[in-house]
């Protein structure tokens, strides 16, 4: 973590690509190591309770449950690294969901059209957020609160009560497995993580961390802070659009408030992944793992016979413990670096 802040605040805005490439992989592991360990520990517990847990079918079912939250958390990570909050995540997902339920487009061609439509919806809401925050300098939490309420209204205008039906092709194919083993929905997340690994190396990725760590220093070192902030919100919006697309494929029906539960959970997933909410640090991969852990926790609790009423008690406790723990690890790391 310490070398990261050095990169971000150092005078050298673009370090040599080779060194950076090596660091990137280390950083991804470092950023997500705790949460990956936690995930596998939890999965071992799940396997102990349910020997079927390792079958392709149940892995795919878990993956399908996880993907919408993972994508939403991935988008949220962008904004949080740049030191902002994005509340619009919930209603962008709802809008995409109702659009897909009210205007179902069947077949592979329809799927491509639908995904483009969701990406366009998410991207344009993100562009509005980005404009409000980067150019009009509104506080991100306040600006996205307003766009969230507006988008919630749009979702309710399109579909005022749960209903509609998502195209069959989508809901069957996207929740299926490739070669009977690899869950198709997982490939979407894989693509996003790979895209992130690439983006992380680009000047946009470096600038993203830099403006989150110290906006003033970043702008002094020649980064166009407004532009980077704008595209941060646009990228986040695009990922919310994808999350809405995958959620629709999974639920196969429309609901104008389908995104609402994902709002707090997306923050929880990001925090669980160890991304600092004060910006400048964090990893998208860790947030995806955070999302996966939250959903796996639900399964484990269910198979332990805990009433589903009490799921929240455990989610909340795990969240606090994870944040405290990752803070401790970070502090230990800093102390070790100083010695």
């Amino acid at each position: 973590m310490t070398d990261l802040t050095q990169t971000a605040t150092g005078t050298d805005a673009q370090p040599p690509q080779g060194r950076l490439a090596g660091q990137t992989f280390a950083r991804v592991l470092q950023g997500g190591l705790i949460i990956v360990i936690l995930y596998f520990a939890l999965y071992a517990l799940y396997f102990y309770q349910q020997p079927r847990a390792l079958s392709a079918g149940s892995i795919a079912a878990l993956m399908n449950n996880t993907v919408p939250l993972a994508l939403a958390a991935a988008g949220q990570t962008f904004v949080i690294i740049s030191r902002g909050f994005d509340l619009s995540v919930a209603s962008v997902i709802s809008v995409c969901n109702v659009v897909m339920a009210v205007y179902p487009l069947d077949g592979p061609g329809g799927a491509v059209m639908s995904v483009l439509m969701c990406v366009a919806i998410g991207g344009s809401v993100g562009a509005v957020n980005g404009f409000l925050v980067a150019y009009l300098r509104l506080q991100s939490i306040a600006a996205t609160l307003a766009t969230m309420i507006i988008c919630q209204g749009v979702a309710l205008v399109i579909l005022n009560a749960p209903g509609g039906r998502v195209a069959d092709w989508l809901s069957y194919e996207l929740t299926d497995q490739l070669f009977k083993t690899i869950p198709i929905s997982g490939l979407f997340v894989l693509a996003v993580v790979l895209g992130w690994l690439y983006l992380r190396r680009t000047s946009f990725g470096i600038s993203l961390y830099a403006i989150g760590a110290d906006e003033h220093a970043a702008s002094l070192s020649g980064i166009n802070v407004r532009k980077v902030r704008f595209f941060t919100f646009v990228s986040a919006g695009v990922l919310y659009g994808l999350a809405g697309f995958m959620l629709s494929a999974q639920t196969a029906t429309g609901n104008p408030t389908s995104g609402t539960p994902l709002l707090l959970l997306s923050f929880a997933a990001v925090a669980l992944g160890g991304t600092s909410l004060s910006g400048g640090k964090g990893s998208l991969f860790a947030s995806v793992m955070g999302a996966a852990t939250l959903m796996l926790l639900q399964k484990v609790l269910f198979s332990s016979g805990v009433s589903s009423f009490y799921t929240g008690v455990f989610q909340g406790c795990v969240l606090v413990i994870a944040v405290v723990f990752s803070g401790l690890i970070e502090k230990l790391g800093e102390r070790a670096a100083k010695l």
């Binding site: 507006i150 929240g312 008690v313």
Partner: protein, 337 residues
């Protein structure tokens, strides 16, 4: 955020004068907008703009004023309280289940319910202050925990009746005025005294502006960081009690509609979401503005979705109008002239 500090240090000596001016201006602006909207609503429907509508707005807005006071204190110190909906529900459930269930005489159960809420707020504060969990995450966690505990304990459907005290608070009249209006006037006065005119309030402003400097200046920083969360939780619990008196029963989702408005009221009221800036009267104005808009929009008879769009747009416009930069620009124009 670094820009924010830069502007603060640049303005230097004029800062205090500027702060007072900015907050007074935005509070008066909101009050004018409220009155104008109330008057203009006559044109939407003849039933509006009358005294009875003013009464309705004051009663409906009282819940929001109470929770926004707590939220405002937390925001003032640089935090954020997301546990308000869960605590409204907890307050409501405890008042119906414990107080209202055949114990109308056990008056001590109401303070006990409020203390329970305050304890949850204390737990949030412990997480924020000692465990160094960001306020956003900590209050979200307590919110999830309390909501699911309430769900589990009530098995999904809260039972019991509204306590007589709650019904008396919300449904009776004092000196010809509905009692909730009298209550909200007293509440606003006490809140204003606490936040703007007491040493306690000044400590909170100091912490929100610069915790390190306040520590050196001898402000009991830790206690002052815990205090707003406890008050916010108790306010939310009390709002739950009021809601129970108003609607004669508790539901598990009764608090859901108050989280975003509580933040919106504070922000529209001219407070900085980063802390150290704002006034309670502005927040009160923001809360009533939101309530007036709500009643007006529902009177137009639009479908719910369109109403929501209008509400969001108005919040956005208010934010754009009350922008920090706009004030700075006006000020610098005046200085040049």
């Amino acid at each position: 955020m670094s820009n924010e500090t830069a502007t603060l240090s640049q303005t230097g000596d004029t800062r205090k004068a500027a702060r007072i001016k900015r907050e007074t201006v935005s509070t008066i602006a909101i009050a004018i907008i409220c009155v104008l909207l109330l008057y203009l609503s006559r044109f939407i429907s003849p039933a509006l703009g009358s005294w009875s509508q003013v009464e309705t707005v004051l009663i409906l807005g009282s819940f929001l004023v109470v929770v926004a006071f707590g939220q405002g204190l937390v925001i003032l110190t640089g935090g954020l309280d997301l546990s308000i909906p869960a605590l409204i529900t907890l307050g409501g459930v405890l008042s119906t289940a414990a107080v209202g269930a055949g114990n109308p005489d056990a008056w001590y159960l109401l303070p006990a319910a409020l203390l329970a809420c305050g304890f949850v707020g204390f737990l949030s504060a412990v997480g924020v202050v000692w465990l160094r969990v960001p306020p956003f995450i900590m209050t979200m966690a307590t919110s999830i925990i309390v909501a699911s505990a309430a769900l589990g304990i009530t098995k999904g459907t809260p039972r019991g009746y509204a306590p007589e005290a709650a019904v008396a608070l919300m449904k009776s009249h004092i000196l010809g005025l509905p009692s909730p209006i009298v209550f909200v006037i007293c509440f606003v006065f006490l809140g204003w005294l606490l936040q703007e005119r007491s040493p306690l309030g000044r400590y909170l402003y100091a912490i929100g502006t610069n915790p390190e400097a306040s520590r050196i200046a001898g402000v009991p920083v830790t206690a002052m960081q815990i205090f707003p969360y406890v008050i916010s939780a108790m306010c939310a619990g009390f709002a739950g009690f009021m809601l129970v008196g108003y609607s004669s029963g508790a539901t598990l989702r009764m608090g859901d509609d108050y989280l975003l408005p509580s933040i919106a009221a504070v922000v529209i009221g001219g407070s900085s979401i980063l802390g150290g800036q704002g006034s309670f009267l502005g927040t009160v104005g923001g809360a009533f503005l939101l309530t007036i808009l709500g009643t007006m929009i529902s009177a137009i008879g639009l479908e719910f979705g369109l109403r929501t769009i209008i509400e969001g747009t108005i919040i956005l416009i208010a934010l754009l109008l009350l922008r920090e930069e706009l004030f700075n620009r006006i000020r610098s124009i005046r200085r040049k002239a």
